[in-house]
């Protein structure tokens, strides 16, 4: 239907690839929160998308105040990001204490309902406290001069999203694998009773998991908000659903699985839109999920239940 040179087709492919990776990184950052919480207390934290939204709103408020006082550039971005991370972590911490901890020994359905309740509560809280309208979000990440020759392919914000995600992944892997707290968290995930017997404070570990997951969600929220330039109280819902899908795709409970799932989901959506039609974006994403779950019921790199214990 179109005549285009080979180099143009290659360029188009690369553009779709970069777009898919950017979107996938965001999914991965949020999916990590789902998967870590599931790994440790086997709860699907449906309010996680709302933490992402709260992060974006906090950053909006902070950057608004700072711009008013004459600050500009990357200092605003970093401060807003830091405060968003702190706020969201506090929300995640409180969320666990209020909504999940009292239900830790209840039937598995109860904390799930509690999670959905918290999700609705937080959405409506932000809607009432802030606004139900779409809010403009400032472009905190400038378009870098050195990128201007390829900015039709990848802009400053997209590059920052990719780089941040890579850095965060590396830090998280180190934290989980080699630090004391990481080891304790893994022990808690494996067997709570045994972990308690060897002197691990499992309540602290569960809180730590929520704090880390929420911090990652806040980072994702700030990055995507500054990339697309608008937020409202409802953005957490779709992002949350997609990230949850990514976590399941990769194998819920598995940290590399969440990253892989996020990237695969982002790339699938990007290529489905690019080469087929955006009408089928979600169809392809979820068809892929079904396919993978048929072949590997526990996700791409998920642990099967049998291996546990």
């Amino acid at each position: 239907m179109m005549t285009e040179s080979f180099s143009e087709s290659v360029l188009y492919f690369i553009e779709l690839l970069l777009g898919g990776l950017t979107r996938g990184s965001i999914y991965a950052l949020i999916a990590l929160g789902y998967t870590m919480v599931y790994g440790i207390i086997e709860l699907i934290n449906f309010a996680h998308g709302e933490i992402y939204m709260l992060g974006a709103f906090t950053a909006l408020i902070v950057s608004g105040i700072m711009t008013l006082h004459g600050y500009a550039g990357m200092s605003v971005f970093f401060t807003a990001m830091l405060i968003a991370v702190i706020y969201s972590s506090a929300y995640g911490f409180t969320l666990e204490k209020i909504a999940y901890k009292p239900l830790r020994n209840a039937p598995r359905l109860s904390p799930l309902i509690s999670a959905i309740g918290m999700s609705i509560f937080l959405q409506n809280y932000v809607m009432l406290a802030q606004t139900s309208d779409f809010m403009p979000f400032p472009s905190l990440i400038p378009d870098f001069e050195c990128l201007s020759w390829i900015d039709y392919m990848i802009g400053g914000p997209e590059l920052v999203i990719l780089v941040t995600t890579i850095i965060v992944m590396i830090c998280l892997t180190i934290l989980i694998k080699y630090t004391r707290i990481g080891k304790a968290m893994r022990a808690t995930a494996q067997d709570k009773k045994m972990a308690m017997l060897v002197g691990i404070d499992i309540n602290r570990m569960i809180s730590a998991t929520f704090v880390i997951g929420s911090a990652l969600a806040a980072i994702a929220g700030v990055l995507i908000a500054t990339h697309i330039g608008q937020i409202n109280f409802y953005i957490g819902f779709i992002a949350g659903i997609k990230a949850f899908t990514a976590a399941v795709l990769g194998g819920i409970g598995s940290i590399p699985g969440a990253v892989l799932g996020g990237l695969i989901l982002g790339l699938t959506e990007s290529f489905a839109t690019g080469y087929v039609s955006s009408d089928y974006e979600d169809v392809f994403a979820f068809a892929l999920l079904v396919l993978i779950l048929i072949i590997r019921p526990s996700g791409l790199i998920g642990r099967s239940e049998l291996q546990k214990v």
Partner: protein
Amino acid sequence: MKHSVIQIFVSLVIAIFGTNVQADTIKLGVAGAHSGDLASYGLPSVKAAELVVEDINAKGGILGKKVVMMPEDDACKPELATNTATRLISKKVHVVMGHICSGATKAALGVYKDMNIVTMSPSATNPDLTQSGNYPNFFRTIASDDAQARLEVDFAINILKIKKIAVIHDKGDYGKGLAEFASKFIEQSGKATVVLYEGVTPGAVDYSAVIRKIKRSKAGAVIFGGYHPEASKLVSGMRKKRMKTIFISDDGVKDDTFIKVAKKYAEGVYATGPKDVSKHPMTKKATKDHQKKYGKDPGAFFLNAYSATLALLNAIEKAGTTKYDAIRTALQNEYVETPLGKIRFDRNGDALGVGFSMYQVKNGQYVERKE
């Protein structure tokens, strides 16, 4: 049972009243939803007709005769609308202002057509009512559902001279419906082609893949059917990728929130929106009369109904008779001054000069384009 008793009683009262009316009057039927869920769409039209009829009778009526208004309820239900039409015909109305809902209007139109009665709706927007050509007796003072798409396409092809157009929508009823009309009109025009037709998911994290696809299609303009959140994401994404593709959209985007959110990227975006008639002196008068008589602001389609009543009565006056053909000719040829502007009707029955204008964002504000 209770209902039918009330109905009989009501029709008796009307019958008694009817016989008292002088034989030599102009009878204006006003049909629409005057009760039920959708009464708020129909009742303002009754009030509009009352105000116009009062004004005209105070000035001595039309052709020396007083105008009598006859409201009839159809509750917006097609199955009741035929009865409503039959009742009005049995009362020998000369013209009908109504009905309100498209479905009910369509059902009633056949009855009026057989009896050669001119009917004018202030609110039925279904495109087929005029465009099918089945109802030569039908006129309306509201733009049809496809009017925005037609304006967008005409503007892109004839004024901006664009040959390749990408049509994007948000998969919703409103946006997708509009996009379907737009791509149909582009193909029909023969002067431009639809190079891309896509739906985007509202609320998706970003639209970068679709934006790259638009770029690849080499479209000169994007016609977007949908609302402002998606539009601002698309426009800012396109501008960040240094694409100068013209962006044309609908009244879902002609909203100040769009400019607030898209900021500098909103500059130059086109959007269709209802014509601003609030400054028209007749609009001010009609609104003031309504406030004086009913103590509140007018409701939905009030100005359209006000204009329809004026147009019908004016046509009778200009025609000098209540004969069907003469009224039709007058409606199509004689301009009438109404709150919606100076209007006459085209061959299909749509009001010329009513409906939508093209706006463009200039210096952070929507400005009406005058072409």
